[in-house]
């Protein structure tokens, strides 16, 4: 038999158990309470930080909220001199650039996702997905770099002239093109959100049970038919979720957008005109803001951005969680 030491004696079958006590060091080491407390503190601090963030945004935007109220969202002027600030211009720019981004990225991303989930053999699909997910790791400022020096020249020299020749009569393609514009920002945004759409949609599509596909195939449908009529409808909520997530990202994108949009506070119908977004104006003017009203107006813009992305992210999550549940009734 081995040797026993310290406080732990064997219990004789007929005898009493000696009064048992851990030393205080042993208690500490064994103490579940301490670990529980430490991890609880960490978890709690996360809640604390988030609460602080919301409070900062709210209290830091007190002046403009009281001064302008809801008017803030309907005014397009942004004038530090007359101290009249309104968010409309930036909301317009944010929505417009994100819309352009989605219009380009969704078909592209969905198409790629279909290819990777339904068509490509496993190894190719995995490799390509790996590469596309690497794309998601490229920082915003690098996209901006490419945007300024590569994308804008390409757009100026090749794309926009063709666009103007073909569709120049449309108001959205009217006016001169100086490179920096809503359009350029929209294009660079689309490049940034495509990997998210591809990655998430691909997983969503892979999660569609095979029974859906087999049912249609047995009826003699082509692969495309199966995808278009069986798989996509089943997955539509998950795909919608991925689009919402991409949208939330696009709305908050700062660096790449500010580098190619021109940073001019104006509302123009033409996509080829320069503009401004919420994130861009905050980035550019925050450190130069003179006076509290100015600074706090920027903070209020930040609050707006925060709330909007929060809502869209929540919507996306709900969509993705309820995917497929609509099938039960069909």
């Amino acid at each position: 038999m081995g040797t026993s030491t310290t406080a732990t004696q064997g219990i004789d079958p007929g005898g009493q158990i000696p009064s048992f006590k851990y030393t205080w060091v042993e208690r500490l080491k064994k103490g579940d309470e301490v670990t529980h407390l430490i991890t609880l503190a960490a978890a709690f601090s996360i809640i604390l930080i988030t609460a602080l963030l919301v409070w900062q945004l709210w209290s830091g935007s007190k002046l403009p909220r009281h001064a302008f109220g809801w008017h803030f969202f309907t005014t397009s002027s942004w004038d530090p001199i007359s101290r009249d600030f309104g968010a409309l211009t930036f909301i317009y720019g944010t929505v417009l650039t994100s819309a352009i981004g989605l219009v380009i990225a969704v078909p592209l991303g969905l198409g790629a996702a279909i290819f990777l989930a339904e068509l490509a053999p496993r190894k190719i699909s995995d490799t390509l997905t790996f590469l596309i997910e690497l794309l998601a790791a490229v920082p915003s400022v690098i996209y901006g770099l490419i945007g300024i020096f590569v994308l804008i020249p390409i757009l100026s020299n090749f794309v926009v002239p063709v666009l103007k020749k073909a569709l120049g009569f449309l108001p959205i393609f009217s006016g001169p093109f100086y490179g920096v514009s809503y359009f350029s920002a929209g294009v660079i945004l689309s490049l940034m959100i495509v990997p998210f759409i591809v990655s998430i949609s691909r997983e969503v599509l892979l999660a569609v049970p095979n029974s859906q596909r087999e049912a249609m195939l047995a009826l003699g449908a082509t692969k495309w038919d199966v995808t278009w009529r069986a798989v996509l409808p089943y997955a539509r909520r998950g795909i919608a979720g991925s689009i919402f997530l991409a949208l939330a990202r696009a709305l908050g994108e700062t660096m790449a957008v500010t580098m190619v949009i021109g940073n001019v506070a104006q509302i123009k119908v033409s996509l080829l005109a320069p503009g401004y977004t919420i994130a861009a104006v905050i980035a550019n003017e925050f450190t130069e803001a003179t006076g509290d009203l100015y600074l706090q107006s920027l903070i209020e813009l930040g609050l707006v951005l925060f709330l909007v992305t929060m809502i869209i992210n929540a919507l996306a999550r709900v969509l993705m969680l309820t995917m497929g549940s609509h099938e039960v009734s069909e």
């Binding site: 081995g2 040797t3 026993s4 310290t6 732990t8 219990i11 079958p13 158990i17 048992f20």
Partner: protein, 279 residues
Amino acid sequence: MPSAKPFNLKQLASARSVRFGATEDQTDPTPEPKFTVSDLNFFYGRFQALHNISLVIPTKKITAFIGPSGCGKSTFLRTLNRMCETVPKTEVIGKILLGQADIYEFPATYLRSRVGMVFQKPLPFPKSIFDNVAYGIRVNHRDKASNLAEQVEQSLRRAFLWEEVKDRLHQSALGLSGGQQQRLCIARALAVNPEVLLLDEPCSALDPISTAEIEDLLFNLKTQCTIVIVTHNMLQAARIGDYVGFFLSGRLIEFDTAKKIYQNPSKGQTEDYITGRYG
């Protein structure tokens, strides 16, 4: 359908003699109690898994529990070392005594250093063989450096694993075969010198040869350590059990010496199970 005969003593004796060379019945008439269980009821939330279990597990014998799947024998085993507490919303009503002491009167971690457990699936920690065995020793704060290597060696010897691993103590335990891993888990449990070793279907994931090795091990171990084993393999219980308990639907139907259970069971349900009417 003709009813099959239960095992007779001759079959039982011959089965044991082939393996262990015993020809006499090994059970003695008044065993000393190791565990005394009185009116044990166990609940998972609102579901009652064990109903009024009362029995005495004798010292330094092998007690085997048999019964069909889901009958509660594993649940019962886990109440003996309070492992049932790791699942939330469980409730234990009744009394369990280890020797003379109520097991709820001292910390569960201490209890488990006296009552070891080996699980169905061999699960070595992702560490070296040495560290696996030393884990229990360290956690129970008995590791004095000079002594540790000796304790580890001793445990490995008791588990009949020393010869096979003595040259690779510091290699990962995950490189061992299934049977070796299970013996390592036994060595790990033995390292803290428990008085009782609980085994929950320890051989069900192993091949017959490894199973035989472990049965040999347990047979040799019982002189040092009380052994309680849950098994779905009746023949295993017949081979190595001194006492056998039959569980059905959370109730202890019958508990007696192995000879009695297999030769002449009192309850019809026991006989049905033994003769393979259901399983």
